[in-house]
């Protein structure tokens, strides 16, 4: 078994127009910048993919990563809990102009909906959002004397995530707090593409240390020195780079 993909361009080559794409990361921690930028490169070269629905906790920061994807007009709708950041202008301007959709989901509900999607559970009940605007139109049921809101699973065509080590089977480890949504998204997408800092042979990761088992992973591409979104933003980076 060998899930290695030789290049970023090949890793994102099959994502179609209109796809629902889960993108890992919480702010810059765990954001798969190189995979996102490869998707932008493909769109600039071929005009596709567009009309994407993107699922992430946030809606981009500055002019790199998800913000750059939105700035290129590739995103039809965001599904997120907190569409604000240090520099949220790209999303904010398109949202206020009616050029991008937003499904606002409480953060824990977002995580659990993705987990449910990955675990084959079509719906679940939670106290979160009961009695608030974000529960409007959702079924409510009583359990042990309290009211709970029904929430549905969330699935995707593709997940793009970032991990630390990945072996040929797709077993993954993560770096510090960068795992956040990625182990859940890996389960919930029909096809999960991972950029890893280092590819190792099977056996190169102690089975005790595997966070995401390879069964949830379809492709692994090595990006040896990945960019960190926060560091890019602190350097006022823009993608694609503007010709001087």
């Amino acid at each position: 078994m060998d899930k290695r993909i030789p290049s970023l361009a090949e890793a994102v080559a099959d994502i179609p127009d209109g796809a629902t794409v889960m993108i890992g990361g919480f702010g810059g921690s765990g954001a798969p910048i190189e995979l996102i930028h490869a998707l932008i490169d493909r769109c600039l070269a071929t005009g596709s993919p567009r009309d994407l629905t993107v699922i992430n906790n946030n809606s981009g920061n500055g002019h790199v990563g998800i913000a750059a994807l939105i700035e290129q007009g590739m995103v039809r709708k965001m599904v997120c809990s907190f569409p604000r950041s240090a520099d949220p202008r790209v999303f904010t301007e398109k949202y206020l102009a009616g050029e991008i959709g937003l499904e606002l989901v409480p953060q824990g509900t977002l995580a659990e909906r993705i987990r449910a999607g990955g675990a084959g559970i079509p719906a679940f009940y939670t106290l979160t959002a009961y009695g608030t605007d974000l529960a409007q139109g959702k079924p409510v049921a009583e359990f042990e004397g309290r009211q709970y809101v029904q929430e549905r699973w969330l699935k995707a065509d593709v997940a793009l995530i970032k991990a630390e080590l990945g072996d040929h089977h797709g077993n993954l480890t993560y770096r510090m707090a960068a795992r956040n949504f990625s182990p859940l998204m890996a389960m919930a997408a029909a096809r999960t593409i991972v950029q890893v800092t280092q590819v190792v042979a099977p056996g190169g990761i102690d089975p005790e240390h595997v966070v995401t088992p390879g069964i949830f992973v379809d492709g692994v591409v090595e990006v040896a020195n990945p960019a960190q979104e926060e560091a890019l933003n602190r350097a006022n980076a823009v993608y694609p780079e503007v010709e001087a």
């Binding site: 921690s29 904010t92 824990g108 995580a111 974000l134």
Partner: protein, 223 residues
Amino acid sequence: MTTRLSNAQIAWRAAQDIADGAYVNLGIGFPEMVARFQPPGRQAVFHTENGVLGFGEAPPAGQEDWDLINAGKKAITLNPGAAFFHHADSFAMVRGGHLDVAILGAYQVAQNGDLANWSTGPRGVPAVGGAMDLVHGAKRVAVLTDHVTKDGKPKLVESCTLPLTGVRCVTRVYTSLAVVDIENDHFVLREKLPAISLDELQAATGARLHVDGEIADLIVPEL
């Protein structure tokens, strides 16, 4: 004479109620100050929604690792015994009732424990983050707030007029003037600044303050 507590002093007062070894989530912003005022000999374990338990202070400038951040996207450090976990586990800690205390900010708190702290209305881009999860996540949900808004309107009210974050979720409110519990759909006054009379406090409060036993003096050090 002190006529109202500073944010640091409100945070100090809230910190006195956190037991040694408690698992605590502090909301982004003002509630984060609570961590600075743990009484000597006590050490709470702080949880942050993005997947860290047992984080410590911010690192010195220039030593940040941006893969190691809190829910406010600020760089953090780890205390011995810290743990990382994914987002569904993190919110299982919250929604499963495993946290001892969550301390949050507020726009309005109602006498039945309803909280409004995520939206001031339909303008702009709506954003909720983990607020609606946290209000149902802990054994105690405490709020830190000025007693009144910047233009003098009560923040402790009969019923919230702003969009709700959660229903019947707040158990205690620490304000710039008082400590108030929420019991059986009532505000119950526990402590107030000695410099303010009960009548003055009631006038600054949008719902009836009930008294159940002695009202202690709210005494806080200069900070």
